[in-house]
Symmetry: D2
Subunit: 437 residues, 4 copies
């Protein structure tokens, strides 16, 4: 392995809430026990390969501002250097997991065969890195949106040859993910959507996408991959309308194509924001409908209409999400990936670490707040009390299918039903929660 | 029947596109044949009772500005007067349909019994009005959101007694709708949603709502109502989060609760806008998933975040929707309801007619444009051509389940798959469509 | 004075951060010294009359849910009862200030004269309340938007008689505010805006509004009122477009009409949200342009497009605002008004107190965080360092007007200007700030 | 000059509304007289260099899809080829104007000197192209946002050396624009804004920007450039907050820095959309405040939060804008630039022409509608009638400064002021306008 790429950065220690050291954790304390489990095992934090090691700061209005040594070309040597730098960062941050797309890790080469060979090459080195550092693969994924062939979608492309190319990439990456012991496989519908309905057959594209995912499920079973398949909702960008808009939209799709139970959700904070949802809503929906998978923790800006992919820095948002996740029994194969990049002006190596330290501390602080809320129990009790009427009498009969519209209406007509107003207590509950934040 | 309420308003004639008469239709020509059917039978336009005859111009910042004679009190006499005025307007506008909620038409009285009696009283008079004028009931619905008992929802209320009250109102209105020959019954989830997740059990509320709708389906079958049950999606307002957010969300809900096939969608333009959708998208989604029911044609303001409920006035939007509806075989039991009210400053009786004339002309003009686009055929051909590759070869094999991820990937690995880029032609198609608008 | 209206509510004590008493302050400690001044004197918190004592929970989709004893009619006796209840709440909350509109406090009566008499009556009782409790008037204002006469605006109305009515109400309320020792007078442009440009002369309406405000300034000087005149920006609602959209728009207006220096800003969090701004931005803009006046602290919901007027409950937002205010020397005549109401489902008297307690604690906690950030000094230093280059050399010459476009361009052409990239350090600064939040 | 770059594209003829030829104008008829002036002279349409000839289809999620021959490298030979292609397109489209940035036209080279030389080289060839084709320069501008040196702004940069570089580029381009007979010079504040307030001194940056623009004004006067200086408002993107948010914000800025009268506005449809404004509002504001300059006609998508830069295709929007412009006396130095690019999937040369043809037809059709509305006169009369009360009596006295708050209030107190409600007639006016659309 080569000389360190981040010589000025130490292994980041836990130093406690009062620390003023910007290169230390104030809350993230991997081994601290939280409700009987290590903090690290609750959060299962993952560093993403693309934003952390491939992002150069270019945006639609400007050129690259960040220049890492491994960006000097597109050779396999550069890919190796990037891998070494990545594992150095994983270790220094003490991150238990990472995530990557095929094209983040290797050049696509000049042919399908070369692409596959490059991927195999890096997978071997990755396996060694995992072995050496203990930093494991949370999930793998294939990039089905950057290459021009995908300009009109991958599985939903009007050209079946593009569908075949998508199959090629996913087959390879699913195999590699399996080989590396990855715990999930993510399908983000990069350009599965439309720019204009004028040239689009919505039903046909939905059927194509359903077919594609069925093939992925079958392949997963064939190779014996035990990880979870995940769809990542997003409402728009790059396309005007992305088919996997939000949790409920994907839920509808999965049911329609008989894929419920086979595929769960990778929910991203920024994508929820773009869809007009509180992230907490998306998480609550996923839990309520058995779709909870994994998270991309990157926040957006509530005033901006595109993916800003910023590190989370407000533990309040994360606390409520983690409260719900803990109540639901915690994460299984999923984790918290940072699909986040440093800002375009953050051109120093230290900035990359500040971003991750802030993000990891935010999650850790949120977890501790969630633990305290659960220990306190008042919030959960307030909710249970509110619905207590459904445990017996008419309420229970309704749920047990012992009432009809007619039987209920008759009771009201007879004047015996007179519901009494009860406060929703929103302000009191908000104050209660503030005690833990 | 009493003296005319709108003496200054004539029966609105069709006068053709060049007419300068503000009290004449320029496009709406009920008997004009369009693709083998009367224009009126394509559009099935309905006037809504609440906005047209109950709206007084109050808003959260100001008092009533519009004063109709029948607003002088809440007696059954006033209700009768309103009914007479409504049928006068229906006739003068030549509207083939109307829609109403229970509480639009009658006072709720002092007891459930009185409410039911009032409803029966007005239903009888309504039946006579229908008989006399030929203006029929497109759909009936119950108001489950205005009364304080519904402040925390109807079917999703934490109190099962409120659920029972909702059952009472829906039973009554479904019966009345059936009796009046209504062609649909609409369920808008007025306050089925939440203000804060802190006091909400999402899963439980979804189950309650599923149960309620199952009861409605059963009652419909029991009484032999042949019309269509419709859910009306809306993303927010009055609650922070309404469960029936958009077409896809309702689709997920219906599938989860085994209600697909039983309930279709009443899609509103303004609600699509609030949900961040083009209305055309919602319509395309409904068609693609067998959920097309009926429409509320009222537009919102793309810059404002609440329901402005304005009459449609841009035939371009309606043309594309009608193009899709015609392609899908046209409306069956559904129609175009104007869930629209005149502006708060539009205090003259004439304004009520200007609003409806503009809206009806907008729909008519859109229909004529859609007819021309279908006759032209170029747009449909462009879409078909774009997906032609899926009719044979690998494409057909994929859809026929004769390919696996592996078999497709292998073809690519062998280098025999080389998709060629093809223009999406968005600008050309936009120009093409502009020829008809 | 009558028996207590809130017998179950004690005087709210300060009980410290660890308190679990929902009817105690955890952070708001009026006499605690913060940077040499009492906390209460920094925050100058005001309770608003309208939302706290007139709000009944009605919304565009539903009826009143909250019923206070003084809502039993529109008589002057009811107005007196409301006043007594208000002062009881002011005292129990220990609020140093309150705010009110003319119509919150009294019925408008049947004539202008009666309106004025009612106002004088209540002003006398208010003066006694102020005297007795020490709770003073932060600002007065006239409601120029609820009455139907204002449906097309007040000063910007097409009818000059409406302008005259607005003058009447403002004259009266400015006089009353002066008499009661009010420290500011607020002008919210309730319906100064338009619903459609089709019927609107933008220039003329701007001139009318400029004229009106000039008359107010002249009257203020005439009566010797030493308080501050404030405009309250809002982008929309109730009108489609409100003229006082945001801080910068009002700034443009004030300059154009020669009113700069005479009128400052009352900035509201929720209005900033509706305008697409971070509230912190609006505050920073006001400070940078000498327009800082006062605040309405009520938050909105970042996902909703209307004024939800909720109590603030996230001290993070307030901390950054207070940091800027403290840096700018603190508030002078302004304060933090809660233009907030409890939720429609919060129907218990206790909810009114929970809302205020939560809001006051949020501001107090924010103030303490701001104090700590200022004591720490790192954030301010980071900003100063970033611009250090402008203190000397070319930078200083530019600002001192010693360079021309030509002279600068020539330096660059000669190759002697080679700016070096420097990190913007956003992540590091966000982490720094999190230490105090 | 080289062989044609668009051999398959003819000179685009005017063929009339019924034409089905996709490579012909249906409405744009340059010599048609409209209110006494050629259509071309009203609209002054300009093609933009960057989007039309430099856009390759890359977006934040994908690579280049469009490959023109002149994109094979960054040499001056390629720049020459691009110029030839551009003038071929200008001629084939019959566009009277074009616009460009320095970096669109030439490579920046390896030094300031080389950049300046390249610019001079292309300016000479451009002059020849202008001479030969008659297609003139509507405006020039410098790109102060793409190069990494501008990552933290140009004039508002914390580093004065970057300010100097910006001065260098603007000096050069202003000189070139002058030399080429350009009619305006545009300053778009590309990255004049902030990413986070944490590292930003708002007041200082505003002062820097004011200083910069003053230098530009002085240089303009020095070289005798008679064209108009224009600022182009945009609310966000690329930065989180752009200082030139909208027309009113720029208006405030210009007044504060004494630049009113010197600088006008270049208003873009898409930027208005992003700012939450109807474009018509921005135009009306500019006209009402003497700031009307020029337009970028590219539309955005009302559902998307970034600049989609699409060609206009809805003449309804443009008709109302042109109605206002015609009422205000028409454009002087300004015009309609297409700051629009074809879609990423529009990879055929024909698509570039379809985009422009559609855009030019949209403007032409809007102009004809505006002409008809003005000839009809009913809309203008309705507005005048609405404000008629201000021409005499109290209204005139108020505007003539013959009334005080007191004198008006006294009139009301005496009971003599009783404004009568009058309908705003929005629906009737919308129907009226629809007659011309």
């Amino acid at each position: 392995m080569s000389a360190p790429f981040f010589p000025q950065i130490p292994t980041i220690p836990f130093a406690g809430p009062d620390s003023r050291d910007p290169l230390a954790f104030r809350y993230y304390d991997a081994d601290r026990m939280v409700m009987g489990k290590r903090m690290a095992d609750h959060l299962r934090i993952a560093i993403c390969y693309w934003h952390s090691f491939c992002y150069g700061g270019a945006d639609p209005f400007g050129q690259q501002t960040i220049h890492w040594p491994w960006m000097a070309g597109h050779s396999i040597e550069m890919a190796d250097m990037k891998l070494d730098a990545a594992f150095e960062a994983f270790e220094k941050l003490g991150a238990p997991f990472f995530c990557f797309h095929d094209v983040d890790a290797v050049p696509a080469g000049n042919s399908a065969r070369e692409f596959a060979e490059n991927l195999n090459h890096i997978a071997e080195r990755m396996a060694a890195g995992i072995e050496r550092t203990g930093c494991r693969l949370l999930w793998g994924t294939a990039n089905l949106f950057s290459h021009p062939r995908y300009m009109a979608g991958a599985a939903t492309n009007p050209d079946p040859e593009v569908f075949a190319w998508a199959a090629f990439q996913v087959r390879n990456m699913l195999d590699v993910t399996h080989r590396l012991g990855g715990e999930n496989y993510v399908l983000w519908g990069g350009r599965e959507g439309y720019e204009t309905l004028l040239n689009t057959d919505l039903k046909r594209e939905s059927d194509q996408l359903g077919r594609f995912l069925s093939l992925v499920v079958e392949h997963k079973q064939k190779i014996g991959f035990k990880g979870t398949l995940l769809i990542e909702p997003k409402p728009c960008e790059p396309t005007k309308h992305q088919y996997d808009r939000d949790a409920a939209t994907v839920h509808a799709f999965l049911q329609r194509h008989g894929l419920e139970g086979e595929i769960k959700l990778n929910l991203e904070v920024n994508h929820a924001t773009l869809a007009g949802h509180d992230f907490e809503h998306e998480v609550a929906y996923a839990i309520a409908n058995g779709l909870l998978g994994s998270f991309d923790a990157n926040r957006g800006d509530p005033r901006l209409g595109w993916d800003t992919d910023q590190f989370p820095n407000d533990h309040r948002d994360m606390a409520m999400v983690l409260y719900r996740v803990l109540q639901a029994g915690g994460l299984t194969t999923g984790g918290f990936n940072f699909d986040a990049h440093i800002r375009r002006q953050s051109i120093d190596a230290a900035d990359l670490f500040h971003g991750h330290i802030g993000g990891m501390d935010t999650l850790a602080r949120g977890l501790l707040a969630a633990e305290a809320m659960i220990a306190d129990g008042q919030l959960a009790k307030a909710v249970d009390d509110r619905y207590a009427g459904w445990q017996c009498g008419v309420g229970a009969n309704v749920l047990d299918r012992n009432e009809s519209l007619e039987s209920l209406a008759d009771k009201v007509a007879q004047g015996s039903v007179d519901p009494q107003p009860r406060s929703g207590r929103q302000e009191a509950l908000e104050n209660l929660v503030n005690r833990f934040l």
